[in-house]
């Protein structure tokens, strides 16, 4: 039977070395891909993923078993990535800014302007989305990736980003607006 993340953490803290190995295997790909999408660099994704799991190991004793492990891990991943980019000065302050003031906030976007299904199944879309995401401010990229790619709820994303639920929701709407604009 597959052990839960919480069980694996508890097993590792009880001295079972392989539990940590399994936890890393379980989340390595997701963490690596998330970092890559933020940094657009495979080399940095590799370095930051190492740093992320090292920090995770260091803080494993502080992990609250009632908390969702994935949310906790992605909080560390996100913070490590942003710290890394800040140290490199590769990230501008404007990358954290939203499009507020540019009047693109459309709360009803999701209902009024659905993306056609056929648009999603075209292979060209993949490349286009890659391009669009890489151009998008980090703050929006994070919300979209965590919500649609990692299947996290807005509440969980709020915990990861350290922002209130409503802020995350409005950032999500703006991110979708940005996607539409850039496509």
């Amino acid at each position: 039977m597959l052990k839960t993340d919480q069980q694996l953490v508890a097993d590792y803290l009880d001295g079972e070395e392989k539990a940590l190995d399994e936890l890393i295997s379980r989340y390595l790909k997701a963490v690596y891909n998330f970092i890559y999408r933020i940094t657009n660099s495979f080399e940095e994704a590799e370095d930051i993923a190492q740093e992320t799991f090292l920090k995770t190991w260091k803080n494993l004793k502080k992990y609250n078993q009632e908390e969702n492990f994935k949310t906790w891990l992605f909080t560390i991943t996100r913070n490590t990535t942003i710290d890394w980019l800040r140290k490199k000065k590769d990230i501008k302050l404007s990358d954290f800014e939203d499009y507020e003031g540019e009047n693109v906030l459309t709360n009803t976007l999701a209902d009024k302007n659905p993306l056609p299904n056929e648009l999603a199944i075209k292979s060209e879309q993949k490349r286009k989305l890659d391009k669009v995401l890489s151009k998008m401010p980090v703050i929006y990229r994070e919300v979209l990736l965590l919500h649609y790619y990692e299947d996290l709820t807005f509440d969980e994303i709020g915990k990861i980003l350290g922002k209130p639920l409503n802020t995350v929701k409005s950032q999500h709407h703006r991110a979708l607006s940005a996607i539409k604009k850039l496509f």
């Binding site: 891909n33 994704a45 190991w57 993306l115 199944i121 993949k126």
Partner: protein, 137 residues
């Protein structure tokens, strides 16, 4: 609508991490753990030595206090004058309690617990630094 975006994001290319990445992460964790264990071994080793050194005077002082307290004399009364002890057992018990050197006992026990606790942590950390040492497993 959400489904459409979900489908769109599912089309995002997913990259396999480099094959060595998993092993590299474990290696880095291992290096960090060994380093931390080495530092802890030294710190707890020093604590063990210091607490062992403190244990000797603490024990000597405790033994002195026991002798000076008259506790032995009170206790010997049980064998020499058992009937008197039974008759005045409340006063006798109070005298016994009053003669016990509590402060010295607390000091001695604290030093002893620090010694045992730090010795245990030294062994635990040495096992991480030198995992092949079998005799302390």
């Amino acid at each position: 609508m959400k489904k459409n975006y979900k489908q769109l994001f599912e089309r995002l290319q997913s990259f396999e991490p480099p094959k060595a990445l998993h092993a590299n992460i474990l290696a880095r964790i291992n290096v960090a753990r060994t380093r931390a264990a080495r530092i802890k071994s030294v710190l707890f080793g020093l604590t063990t030595v210091l607490s062992f050194a403190a244990l000797i005077p603490a024990f000597t002082y405790l033994a002195q206090q026991f002798q000076q307290s008259g506790l032995y004399q009170y206790l010997s009364l049980i064998f020499s004058d058992g009937e008197v002890v039974l008759s005045y057992w409340q006063d006798y018990a109070l005298s016994i309690v009053e003669s016990i050197p509590f402060t010295e006992i607390i000091v001695f026990m604290t030093v002893l617990f620090v010694l045992l606790g730090s010795a245990k942590l030294v062994v635990k950390n040495i096992r991480i630094v030198f995992p092949r040492i079998l005799f302390i497993r």
